[in-house]
Each structure stands twice: as structure tokens, then as C-alpha cells.
Symmetry: C2
Subunit: 363 residues, 2 copies
């Protein structure tokens, strides 16, 4: 099949690399020249508002998917009139607005942090008072990697925060004293089969994912069942096809859902090397109507993002079982340029890779 | 780096798929439009005798390698004047002529089947008498997948065989009562580091590889050491950089070398799914000067070629841990269209995949 991907970044790249062995070819659509996918298929540069370009793109494809959740819903709906679009555009609607998202989760009886909308400085102040301080304030739309978020620790900073976030509609979330951040990547086939990858444990730095470990340490059967139940509810409610990722807080033995990513996810990158079927391959299998592949891990996989700089590759030789994944992007501060996955690493291996990455970041 | 690959078939395809995550891009050179690599880089169609086209191709590349051993040596030498070519062109010279190859192995004190050249019908008859019947007769050049080979069982068929093989220079090999065919894939870095994958056991049908299992069953430490020693001798003698594959006969507890493939090899395909670093990735690492990656297997991997037809993919769902690799080629009898690797399969899994492949072949 010819698979169309909206977005031509690293997720599109890894989808294509997983899809070629299944016999597929790829067309990418992006608003600007995206280097990660340049050599891996045809690339259409256009605006999501340009109906003509969208139609021409759709005509090339047997099925369309997306690699980022800020695809305008109108574009997804237009494309879906011509060719199947998976995950369903409804998943975009839900996940593009943090308020809709939380209400959707609540409607499914899935625990979330307590939340309130705020459309004015006064409403922001009221929400903070109601939920108690500290609390997290986020723009309802277009936030990622910690962008569009502020922590409010005292009511004095409400006015500044309102201004800083551009007077945009907000969601205010009660502080969650979580012990760790977990995520679950799951996939649903056209036939409705659901498979759930092992939970991953995620550590962020400056709001960007730094390290992700799969399976997360200290998993209990209850945690696993709970994550599976949450993922399944979301997938079924959206009549979903493809991979979804849910960011979760582990708090007092329970899981609270924080965010839905209707796509392959950074915390699932370790599935390329640590699991029999990667999230990328299973996404392609799902949207093309193939049966899903096994999500059994064959190693404990620890992934580190390469942000802003690529460390000296020779140093990798001193770290056993390090798998490198570069995205073909030129270095720029804060930019995700690649990731490295260590299989069954020792504490020393991890320390060594952290130092190596650190040395690269300073270069 | 921009990596040039001579040949744009499935081996070039799998090299590119392994090389993109390392940050490289690819240019392919072939004598005809090869579909497997069409979408994975730029493609130059030309003749190996056309110096201008070769030069233009070389100018695009930082390093050049090849995916088949019948690249004319003159072309490899011309390219090597402009840009590094790995493996060294000398490896082509040795492996393109079965007589040179056997003499090279003999010169390194590596055991081979007994052999004799034959440049006339009379010499063929003499060689058969000397080596005893039955014996294998092969054209010295351009044989692959069982092509250009005949078994002679009685002297009466000498004349027919000489005619059938087109009166080309031949090598006659004494019959080897081998218990099984093994192969060893090894890789040498620019620094001279040598790593050897576990031995694979290979079964052919109609002269084409049908099934390959890695690690081969019933491996003794002696066998492993012997294969490593043979591979290391060959790699060092050729001052080799990249992956080599050696076809071996296991006979009376010993290994005899039958053939050198100066490239990634069909019997190493299972390394994609069963070993931490695949033969394709290690070839790219070697020729780009990166340290080699671990060749430790994490599963027993059994590979089946898909020849002539692609079986119904839905059937894969009933076979756990089956990894599919299609080459983007249109079906044609006898053509390698892809392969399937099973990880830690049961006998039932194997029987099921054989039936599935069989059903595809009949469609």
C-alpha cells in the first residue's frame, strides 16, 4: 500500500523504516521541508488549509495517518472523505484540547488530576483557589514538550501567568504528588484487537523526555491491569485504529491519566530494539489491516533522547548493546536529534551513556 | 555520510534500512531499474563500463560498497580512485572466480573440497577420473543460486555437461559427503576488529536457500572456534572492511570452505531480528568507520525465504513472533520476494509457516 503520513519528522521517518519491510511505500505531507523523511518517500509541502493540495495528496495514498496531533481536524475530515484516515479524526479533536481530553477521560471513568477551565484572569484565580496551590496551568491547545505550561505556587503570580500564556483559554490542574511518570503505548487493529506494551517509566528534563525505561521497574500485576484497562477504554471509545500513547501519573498505588497522544510516542521508541514488534510496525500493521505483532519485550530497554547535539559516536563502542537512532536533522538547541536505546544496561552503562550524551551536548 | 551502493536489490534495500538510523543517506547504482531501493535514496541507472557515469556517481558518495559480487573489478578500481570502496576490490577478484577463490583459501591453509580446473571436455573427463565420481562441476564465473552447476555421476555424461555449461572454463570439485551446510557471517572494522556471528545452518531447495537457522543446532566450541579462525584468516588476508559470508560444509566434524561472498548474505538475514546488531548495520558501521556493534543473539532465529509468491499475510497472525521482510519486488517464479524470520519457534510454528509459504507459492 501507499501510506500517506501527515508530518515528515522523526516519527514519520521511523514509521517508514518500519513499514518498508512490510512491503509499503510512503508519501509525506508537511508545512515545511522536513529533513527526517526527505529520502524515504515522496514529500508534499503545503498548507493544511489548501484543499486542492490535500486532495492531490489523498489521491496518491491508500490510507493516511499522522505523526503529530496538531493536524487541523478540518484537514483530517476532508482527507477522510477521499481515503481512510487512521487514527479516526475524532481522536485529534479529543487530544488537541486539554479540556476536551480531560472531560473525555472523566466520561470514561478514568482517573485524572482534578481540573478546571479558565478563560479569564479571574477564572484562573478562582480555579487556583478552588484546586489549591501549587497547581499546573496549561494552554488548552498547542502545548508540547512543556511548552505553554506554568506552575503557579502563589496567587500573586496569577496575573503574570495569565499574561505569559497569552490570554489563551487555559486548563488548571490540581497538583498531583505523583511518585513517578509512566506511560502506556497500546494499539488497536481494524478488527478491534487491542495489545498493550509494557508500561514505561519516564524522566523529563526541562520539560522534555530525557530517559524512558520499558518495562518500568517495580510493576505489579495490578498496575499492568489498570494501564491495560485505561488504554482499552480509550481505544474502544474512539473506535480507534493504530497506536495510542497515554501519559500517566503513578500516585499512591493508582494511575491517573494526564494526556492522550493519538500517535506513536517518544516513550515507545525503546520498542524498536526491546520488543518483538515495535510501536511503529504495529501502527503500520493496524492501519493497513494486518494482524498485530507480538508486544512481548525481549530485553529491558532504556532509551535516552539526544537533544541539541549528537554525542561522539566512537564513545558508543564502550557501551555494550547501545542502539543508535538518528533522525537526519541538523543540530539546534533543544531539538530532538535522535535517541539511543540500551538493552539490559548496568548502572555503569547508564552512567557512561549519560556522560557521553552530556559531552555531546556541550560540543 | 552519503553511502553509494552498487546494486539496488534487496540487499541494498536492507543496508539502507539499517543505515538510516545511523544518520546516513544512500545513492544506488544499477544496470536496470531495481524496485527494492527505488524509494530509499537516489538511483543511477548506468553501465559499469561507462566511466563518465561511474565518475558522476562516485562524486555523490563519501564511501562506496556493493551488494553483489559480480561488479566488474575494473569498475570497482575506477571508483576506488575517487572515493573509498569497501570491501576492497581485491575481494571481488577473489570471489568472482571459483578457481581463484579455492586457490586463495588453499593458500591460507583453509580446508576446501578437492578441486581441479577444466578448460576442455578432455580436462573435464580427466578431472572427474582423478577426483572420482560423483563430482560437482561449476562454471568458474557468474554462478549463483545453483546456476551454472551440474553433478556428474557417470563419465558418460561428461560431454553433455561440457556442452550444457556452454564450454566455459570450469572447476570440478570432489564430492563431499557433508552432514550439513553451515555458513558464517563475519565483519571487520577499519581498525581491524573482527566479530563473528553465530554459525547458521542452511537448507536449500532447487539450489536456492530455503531455510536458515542461527545459531545452528548442535554447535560445539570447536566448530565455533574453527569458523572464527577461517573467517578471520580470510578477512585479514584481504585487509577486508565490511561483512563477509563463508559457505561451509560440515563433514566428519570438520569445516570445509566452499564459497566466499564479499557482502551481506541471505543466511545472515535472521540477524535483523535475532541478533543485537544485524549484518546490515555492522556492514554500514564498518565501512563508515564506526565501532562495530554486538553480534550476540537474543533468540534462536529461523529464516524462510519467500520465493516466487508472497503467502497470505493474514496467516502470519497464527504464528507467534514471525517477522516479515518484503523486498518491494513483483512476483515471478524463482524470485526472492522477501523472507520471514521466526524467533524461538516450536516445531509446530515451523510446520505452520512451511504450509503458509507453500500455499502462497501455489497461488
Amino acid at each position: 500500500m501507499r501510506i500517506g503520513i501527515l508530518g515528515a519528522g522523526q516519527l514519520g521517518r521511523m514509521l517508514a523504516l518500519a513499514g518498508y519491510p512490510l512491503g509499503h511505500t510512503f508519501s509525506f505531507f508537511d508545512v515545511s521541508e522536513g529533513t527526517p523523511c526527505r529520502d524515504l518517500g515522496s514529500l508534499t509541502i503545503g498548507r493544511f488549509e489548501d484543499e486542492g493540495t490535500l486532495k492531490k495528496f489523498a489521491a496518491q495514498c491508500d490510507v493516511i495517518t499522522y505523526e503529530f496531533e496538531n493536524v487541523p481536524c478540518s484537514a483530517a475530515h476532508q482527507l477522510a472523505e477521499i481515503v481512510p484516515v487512521y487514527p479516526p479524526p475524532r481522536a485529534l479533536e479529543v487530544s488537541q484540547d486539554r479540556l476536551t481530553e480531560k472531560e473525555f477521560l472523566q466520561g470514561l471513568d478514568i482517573g485524572t488530576p482534578r481540573f478546571r477551565p479558565a478563560n479569564s484572569e479571574q477564572e484562573l484565580r478562582d480555579a487556583c483557589s478552588l484546586l489549591g496551590l501549587p497547581c499546573m496551568v496549561k494552554t488548552r491547545r498547542f502545548g508540547y514538550d512543556g511548552k505553554g505550561q506554568r506552575m503557579i505556587e502563589e496567587l500573586d503570580s496569577v496575573a503574570t501567568t495569565w499574561r505569559d500564556l497569552g490570554g489563551a483559554p487555559l486548563i488548571v490542574e490540581g497538583f498531583v504528588p505523583f511518585s513517578r511518570e509512566l506511560s502506556v503505548v497500546a494499539v488497536r487493529s481494524k478488527d478491534g484487537e487491542v495489545l498493550t506494551y509494557p508500561l514505561a517509566q519516564n524522566d523529563h528534563r526541562n520539560g522534555i523526555l530525557h530517559r524512558s525505561e520499558m518495562p518500568a521497574p517495580e510493576l505489579t500485576p495490578e498496575l499492568r491491569r489498570s494501564a491495560q484497562a485505561i488504554a482499552t477504554k480509550v481505544l474502544v471509545a474512539l473506535d480507534y485504529v493504530g497506536v495510542v500513547a497515554l501519559e500517566l501519573f503513578h500516585v499512591r498505588g493508582e494511575l491517573l491519566a494526564n494526556e492522550i497522544a493519538p500517535r506513536v510516542h517518544n516513550s515507545g521508541h525503546s520498542t524498536i530494539d526491546g520488543v518483538i514488534t515495535s510501536q511503529f510496525e504495529n501502527h503500520i500493521r493496524a492501519i493497513t489491516g494486518m494482524p498485530l505483532g507480538s508486544v512481548e519485550p525481549h530485553a529491558r530497554a532504556v532509551m535516552f533522547n539526544l537533544i541539541g547535539a549528537i554525542p561522539p559516536l566512537d564513545a558508543l563502542s564502550t557501551i555494550p548493546n547501545a542502539k543508535l537512532h538518528l533522525y537526519g536533522k541538523s543540530p539546534r538547541p533543544g531539538r530532538k536529534l535522535g535517541h539511543i536505546t540500551l538493552l539490559n544496561p548496568s548502572a555503569q552503562d547508564e552512567a557512561r551513556i549519560e556522560r557521553t550524551i552530556e559531552s555531546g551536548s556541550m560540543s
